[in-house]
């Protein structure tokens, strides 16, 4: 168990009651502004003390108010990446990165400065002061600084705020690389569900100071636990693949699904051209970019046709969502209600998921 928490807390007249069990290597904390997301992170980090309850990280007790047990913030091994980076303005980037060095057991250092510099591409920034950095650079340095404190758990509070779309994608890529390289569990807070879903499907939904739902995005949605907060059209199909081959003219690239090698995706994304065969690639496809057909189509420009069976169907006012099981992976397709009726799609029906190569978004490559 990465995190087991059951605490009561009050602050400024507001009451918070968090019950949380985290097992996934990346968990997204989602909720509206003022729902209590940051307070939860502050309690995990030890910045705020709960009034009651307990918390364990990696099965080790950290807080137990009843027995007055509390490991202080600086001894918890929980690194916190704050909304604005919070780099120390009087120190250079290098000094910021090595800030925690003084407090570490030198024999237990696993994450080294050189590796972090390479991973986050921040070597040219070493002698600069934080005020000379751009928003994206600041956030990368803050991530590097947190990593170099050799954390057992990484907390990220709105790490994408104040960043434009391309920088968001860049930081998401870095976070996924970090998770894959160092296996550090992450808890990430964001009010943008798309950003979270690019990192993980595993969510905890916070509303009014409480954890109102927890688990896989689609299960939360399917069980209608929090329909007002989380809406199906915000869903994102995220699939981990391996780059296996490219066409002779270097225009089409094949990505084999990791869970099931029989399924592969063809894309024209030029970014892949510079990568080596065998590179791991995470891709994302929006539900409204997946069309359904009863049969495999011939003579169409659509590059990806994947056979599957309808597992679940959800409907709301405007759309219908079909969960299609395709040989070990689930794809969520958003179609209109009339299409559902015209094609006579029911649970258990065999369908083909049609995905244009242009609809495939590359999230990261490692």
């Amino acid at each position: 168990m990465i995190l087991n928490l059951d605490v009561k807390h009050s602050k400024g007249g507001h009451k918070f009651n968090y019950k949380l069990l985290l097992e996934s290597s990346i968990t997204g904390i989602y909720g509206a502004s003022g729902a209590g997301k940051t307070t939860l992170l502050n309690i995990i980090a030890g910045i705020e003390q709960p009034d009651n309850g307990f918390m364990a990280i990696n099965d080790k007790l950290v807080v137990d108010i009843n027995s007055k047990y509390n490991i202080p913030c600086n001894k918890r091994g929980v690194a916190y990446i704050f909304q604005e980076g919070r780099l120390f303005p009087h120190l250079t980037v290098k000094e910021n990165l090595l800030f925690s060095n003084k407090y570490l057991d030198k024999s237990k250092i696993e994450i080294k400065l050189k590796d972090v510099l390479d991973l986050l591409k921040i070597k040219p920034l070493l002698n600069k002061k934080p005020m000379e950095l751009s928003g994206g650079e600041k956030q990368r340095v803050a991530i590097g600084r947190a990593l170099l404190s050799q954390p057992k758990l990484l907390l990220l509070d709105e790490p994408f705020s104040n960043l434009d779309r391309s920088l968001r994608k860049q930081i998401i890529s870095y976070l996924l690389k970090i998770n894959a390289t160092y296996k550090i569990p992450m808890v990430i807070v964001s009010h943008i569900i798309g950003d979270i879903l690019r990192l993980t499907n595993n969510l905890a939904i916070i509303d009014n100071g409480r954890v109102v739902a927890q688990g896989d995005f689609f299960n939360i949605m399917a069980n209608s636990l929090v329909p007002e907060i989380i809406k199906p059209h915000r869903y994102l199909n995220v699939i981990d693949t391996t780059y296996t081959e490219k066409s002779i003219d270097n225009s089409l690239f094949t990505l084999a699904c990791k869970k099931c090698h029989e399924i592969s995706f063809n894309t024209e994304n030029n970014k892949i051209n510079s990568l080596e065969i065998g590179t791991n690639i995470r891709l994302a496809i929006r539900p409204d970019e997946i069309a359904l057909s009863n049969n495999k189509l011939n003579g169409v420009s659509i590059q990806n046709q994947i056979k599957g069976r309808v597992y679940k169907i959800f409907e709301n006012e405007n759309s219908t969502f079909c969960v299609v099981q395709c040989n070990g992976i689930e794809l969520v397709s958003e179609i209109t209600k009339s299409s559902l009726l015209n094609l006579n799609i029911t649970v258990g029906a065999e369908v083909w998921c049609l995905i244009k190569s242009k609809s495939i978004e590359i999230i990261y490559d490692i």
């Binding site: 980090a45 030890g46 910045i47 202080p72 913030c73 600086n74 001894k75 918890r76 929980v78 690194a79 916190y80 704050f82 919070r86 120390f88 303005p89 009087h90 800030f99 925690s100 003084k102 407090y103 570490l104 002061k129 934080p130 005020m131 600084r145 947190a146 404190s149």
Partner: protein, 232 residues
């Protein structure tokens, strides 16, 4: 014939004593002001308003009153001074210690107020960031809070130093105006103003006094300008 440039040994000795008192007072002020200003800026406790008001008294009360209170407390027959004298043979009034005490008490509120403001300007979130990186509260204070508040701390010390240079009321009451022992620049200016024909001496001491204060303020300004990261 006295002229503006003919400075006497007695004057040099008075200037040196004044600078010495101001320096020692500033050194004594530093840890006290740091502790109190940080506590006032960061901690919430019962009676905080009362403590803040008490500290500010020497700033608003006539310095003579401050000097008189010091005399009542630490004079040879004072509430505390009596015991210090009887038990340890310590004389607190009318000597160098009295000069330092009077200057420190009068200048302390200035230092505390300036430092408190600069500590309040340090984003507490940076302190939290430091703690999540493994630093204890003490280490965070010395590695993050103090360096960021340093321009304000320096300004507070310079103000305190300048206030000590010009201290008059509390000093004359508690330390006296003893030539060669407790006479500082301000007291010497005052004494010489009473004597006709000593105008050059008075002017000279005034100019020197202004110059010393000016140097301190300029040094502090140059330092603060270098710390650009505090400017938004």
């Amino acid at each position: 014939m006295d002229s503006f440039l003919s400075i006497s040994n007695q004057e040099l000795q008075v200037i040196w004593l004044t600078v010495k008192v101001a320096l020692v007072s500033t050194v004594v002020t530093l840890p006290i002001a740091l502790f109190i200003s940080y506590a006032l800026a960061r901690k919430e406790f019962k009676g905080k308003v009362f403590v803040e008001s008490l500290i500010s008294i020497p700033l608003v009360a006539p310095p003579v009153v401050t000097g008189y209170i010091l005399l009542l407390l630490f004079g040879t027959n004072g509430v505390i001074g009596k015991y210090l004298s009887d038990w340890f043979g310590l004389k607190m009034a009318f000597n160098f210690v009295a000069l330092v005490m009077a200057s420190t008490i009068v200048s302390l509120p200035l230092a505390i107020r300036t430092m408190k403001t600069s500590f309040e300007l340090v984003d507490p979130n940076l302190e939290y960031a430091s703690m999540t990186l493994g630093a204890s509260k003490r280490s965070t204070f010395f590695r993050v809070t103090l360096p960021l508040a340093l321009p304000g701390v320096i300004s507070g010390l310079v103000l305190s130093f300048a206030r000590c240079l010009g201290e008059f009321g509390a000093t004359i009451t508690f330390a006296g105006n003893i030539i060669g022992k407790t006479q500082t620049i301000s007291l010497m200016i005052y004494s010489n103003m009473q004597i006709p024909g000593n105008e050059w001496r008075v002017t000279r001491l005034v100019v020197i006094s202004v110059l010393i204060s000016l140097i301190a303020v300029v040094v502090s300004e140059i330092y603060n300008k270098k710390k650009k990261y505090l400017k938004k």
